[in-house]
């Protein structure tokens, strides 16, 4: 077990890789009552084309299968896993993103029992035609609920413009049509391939003793046998490297009172899955804080003109196989909002907002916010286990933020923001 003390965070992280390939990270937090554990597979909604374990040929499974699998993991022959966690009052949940699926619990006692439950239920699949059929109604409702959510529609609207082929364009839950095709055999196929311990990690944080916790986990894993670890082959469609296949603009109507506008930027540059990738993401975040943050002159000008309001915001997604930015807000005039953002993006690297003084300011803010977020066990665990930057993690961010220079920020602006990579999506209110 490796032990690393991060002095500037006053945190000590314990890590180990078990014989079966499972990566374990443990963070004891003094004074906390709760323990939060998250068990993650590096497998999400985009991983629909792959070579199944022990086979040679690529296969394609129906969209939404990773999320469907997540739901079905809780359903066992002898009942619902929620009930087992419930015995000690623990709460459990799971979520699926583009690139990961995570199972978690939060408990204030019986940590060993709850950890065993977590490991055992995720490592013991049970799918039958009957339970699969029942789930289709529930997930169908979930998809419909998101269909009514204007922010969700806005997000996928821009993602579909940016990615004409890449599966990131498809709703994480799939569609009512695609999930109708899912069978128990499909679930087993995906499960066997992606839920191998060597493709998974476990993060436990809170009121724990690291040595004791690692002993429990190791003992539990030693009772189980797995096929030898093999690298997973996934395949993704090729898209134009110059962005020429991006859809520049689309608009839809929805029964909302106010319109919505989003500008998307597709990353056409290459981001590595190592420390440089984490530095890239952090630098990009600072760039957007400088250009569009609420301490920027741009923000004040647009806010004062009524072009943006408090709903304005931006998010970056830097993930396995894709990265993009989305800047969005509610507005009575979606065209005006997207035009204003694009005007700023067009001259980003030469923007007067990019000064050494302002960089110091946004770095102070980024550092303070990072430290504040270490109050949250959930934040630490979810961030740590979701990132794909090799050995570089959340815990390295204090140092990474401190080292970023104005030159770095300008370079990232040149590399990321390209005219051909920009797209716009609007939601207009539907009359009546």
């Amino acid at each position: 077990m490796q032990v690393k003390h991060y002095k500037n965070l006053d945190e000590t992280l314990y890590t180990d890789t078990l014989a079966n390939g499972l990566k374990v990270a443990l963070l004891p937090k003094a004074g906390f009552h709760k323990t939060y554990a998250v068990f993650t597979t590096n497998y999400g909604s985009i991983d629909s084309k792959f070579v199944p374990l022990g086979q040679q040929e690529l296969t394609t499974v129906p969209d939404g299968i990773a999320h469907f699998l997540e739901h079905k993991m809780f359903d066992k022959k002898d009942g619902d896993v929620f009930e087992v966690f419930g015995r000690y009052g623990a709460s459990s949940n799971a979520f699926t993103s583009f690139t990961r699926t995570s199972y978690l619990f939060s408990a204030t006692n019986h940590v060993q029992e709850n950890l065993t439950t977590l490991l055992d239920f995720v490592q013991d699949p049970y799918f039958t035609p009957k339970t699969v059929a029942k789930e289709k109604g529930i997930i169908g409702q979930e998809i419909e609920m998101y269909d009514d959510d204007p922010n969700w529609r806005l997000f996928f609207g821009i993602v579909q413009n940016l990615y004409p082929k890449h599966p990131v364009r498809i709703d994480i839950a799939g569609t009512v049509e695609s999930i109708a095709k899912i069978t128990a055999d499909d679930l087993y196929l995906a499960y066997q391939t992606f839920y191998h311990p060597s493709n998974m990690n476990l993060f436990v944080v809170g009121n724990i003793d690291a040595n004791e916790t690692l002993k429990w986990i190791t003992a539990n894993q030693e009772t189980k046998t797995f096929a030898p670890a093999a690298p997973i082959q996934r395949q993704f469609p090729t898209e134009a490297v110059d962005g020429s296949d991006i859809i520049p603009y689309r608009v839809i109507e929805m029964p909302v009172n106010r319109g919505k506008s989003v500008v998307g930027i597709k990353g056409l540059d290459q981001v590595k899955q190592d420390r440089s990738g984490l530095v890239y993401r952090t630098t990009l975040n600072l760039l957007f804080d400088l250009l569009f943050g609420d301490s920027s002159a741009n923000y004040l000008r647009l806010y004062d003109k009524g072009v943006i309001d408090d709903t304005f915001g931006y998010e970056l997604n830097v993930e396995r196989t894709f990265h993009f930015a989305a800047l969005s807000g509610d507005t009575d005039n979606p065209q005006e909002l997207s035009d204003a953002i694009i005007a700023i993006l067009d001259h980003a690297a030469a923007s007067p907002e990019l000064t050494a003084d302002r960089l110091e300011l946004v770095k102070k803010e980024a550092l303070g916010r990072l430290l504040q977020s270490f109050n949250s066990l959930e934040f630490i665990a979810n961030e740590y286990s979701g990132d794909h930057f090799g050995d570089a993690t959340l815990f390295d961010l204090v140092q990474i933020i401190e080292q970023i220079t104005l030159t770095d920020v300008k370079q990232v602006a040149e590399s990321f923001i390209r005219q051909a990579a920009i797209s716009v999506f609007h939601i207009e209110p539907k009359e009546g």
């Binding site: 929620f82 709460s91 943050g293 009524g306």
Partner: protein
């Protein structure tokens, strides 16, 4: 330890090394009044935006950035018969920063500046800021309509509280009142609020209590009267169930129900009622979730929540509109099951364990802790030891649960019909 700074102004410092932050919460409390709810809501936006010392939004934002990303916000909400205007500042504990900058003193100075030196011109809120924030609030009020879950829940409240104009208005206000507010009149109201509202200050973190006290002495709070309005809201029972249905072009229908309960926060039977609600619909193991979602596959969500300051339990579901009658029937059957004792001892045990787990988990959240302290100041009976909470929850019997469930009376049904609509 609660200290009285002057009549109607209290300070409660909660020393803790558990967190990397210092959280300062100033709560201005006034009796709930539909004439002032909207004003207070607009005031929250104005004071968050700028001030005399930070005349533009970027000035204010830059100050917060310079204080290492201090988190400053003002929110409004209501509880029972009271309206809370809550000012929160979260600071990074500067022992983790590269330079120890005395952030606590700086943060308190900042709060004093934004609260006591607002952006005033000629005895009125500065006109441009005022106009813009009014427009933004108008847009916000309209956008509530776009979030169908929130919309349905507000419509249910309007239906249940139809005879009480103070409860009927959402905590963030209403458009008709907003239209009438003028910048001079709002400033007058703000001065009255500063002068007359009860103020409760809670500070949580690794701080020196006397340093906080000294800095707050600078605020020169005047003495004021504590409101005599009882905190808990009561209303007569409707003889007939109130019903309303609306149709909109949405994919998923929303069916929400309101029930009256006679049990209030930390009054006798409060903890047993928590367990009762937990069994009915308050947890993922509850009868509602199990039977509406898991067994009948009729809904994506189905749950109940208990507002012990207003004596009401609400049920919220998202369903296929064609299943309305069936869902209503299943919901009614679940309550009947709780009343008849038709649920397992295992469910009781798990519900209790979950309630205890949630209570203890709250102690890891700065927001939960400061709020808990605030409520304990207002409702002293709610201040109990963790062990007592556990013991009292564990002591709840099946007979108690059944008896309490019989006191839960259906009063209102709101249905947002999604039929015929395709988004």
């Amino acid at each position: 330890m609660i200290q009285t700074l002057t009549d109607g102004v209290t300070l409660n410092v909660i020393p803790s090394k558990q967190f990397k932050t210092i959280r300062i919460v100033l709560t201005f409390l006034a009796p709930l009044d539909n004439k002032t709810i909207t004003k207070r809501s607009l005031l929250a936006s104005l004071l968050e935006t700028n001030s005399a010392d930070y005349p533009t939004q970027t000035d204010l934002a830059a100050k917060l950035s310079a204080m290492y990303g201090a988190n400053f916000g003002i929110s409004v909400n209501k509880r029972g018969n009271a309206h809370f205007f809550t000012v929160t500042l979260t600071l990074t504990n500067d022992k983790f920063l590269p330079v120890q900058t005395g952030l606590l003193a700086e943060g308190l100075e900042f709060l004093k500046s934004v609260l006591y030196r607002p952006n005033i011109v000629d005895n009125a809120f500065e006109a441009t800021t005022f106009q813009r924030e009014k427009e933004n609030m108008t847009a916000y009020l309209a956008s509530v309509y776009d979030n169908k879950q929130a919309y349905a829940s507000l419509k249910l409240q309007a239906l249940y509280f139809k005879n009480d104009e103070n409860q009927r208005v959402p905590s963030f206000g209403s458009q008709s009142v907003l239209d009438q507010i003028q910048p001079d009149e709002l400033y007058q109201y703000y001065q009255k609020m500063l002068r007359e509202d009860q103020i409760l200050i809670n500070v949580l973190g690794d701080v020196d209590e006397s340093a906080v006290q000294e800095a707050l002495a600078d605020f020169s709070f005047a003495a004021r009267q504590v409101p005599t309005t009882p905190l808990f809201y009561h209303q007569p029972t409707f003889e007939q169930i109130q019903e309303e249905t609306q149709t909109q072009a949405v994919v998923q229908g929303k069916l929400n129900l309101a029930y009256q309960v006679p049990t209030y926060y930390y009054e006798p039977n409060y903890l047993p009622m928590l367990v009762t609600n937990g069994i009915f619909g308050g947890s993922p193991l509850a009868l509602l979730f199990t039977n509406v979602r898991e067994k009948a596959s009729l809904a994506y969500y189905a749950s109940s929540s208990y507002d012990a300051f207003r004596g009401i339990i609400t049920v919220q579901t998202g369903i296929d509109s064609k299943n309305k009658t069936q869902v209503l029937d299943i919901v009614a059957k679940q309550l009947a099951s709780v009343q008849a004792g038709d649920f397992s001892d295992d469910l009781i045990a798990k519900t209790k364990a979950m309630i205890i787990n949630q209570y203890i988990s709250g102690l890891d959240s700065t927001g939960y802790l400061t709020n808990q302290q605030l409520i304990q100041t207002l409702v002293p009976t709610s201040k109990i030891a963790i062990a007592d909470f556990q013991q009292q929850i564990m002591a709840v019997t099946k007979q108690q649960i059944q008896a309490l469930a019989k006191q839960i009376k259906l009063q209102a049904i709101y249905f947002l019909n999604g039929e015929g609509g395709q988004a």
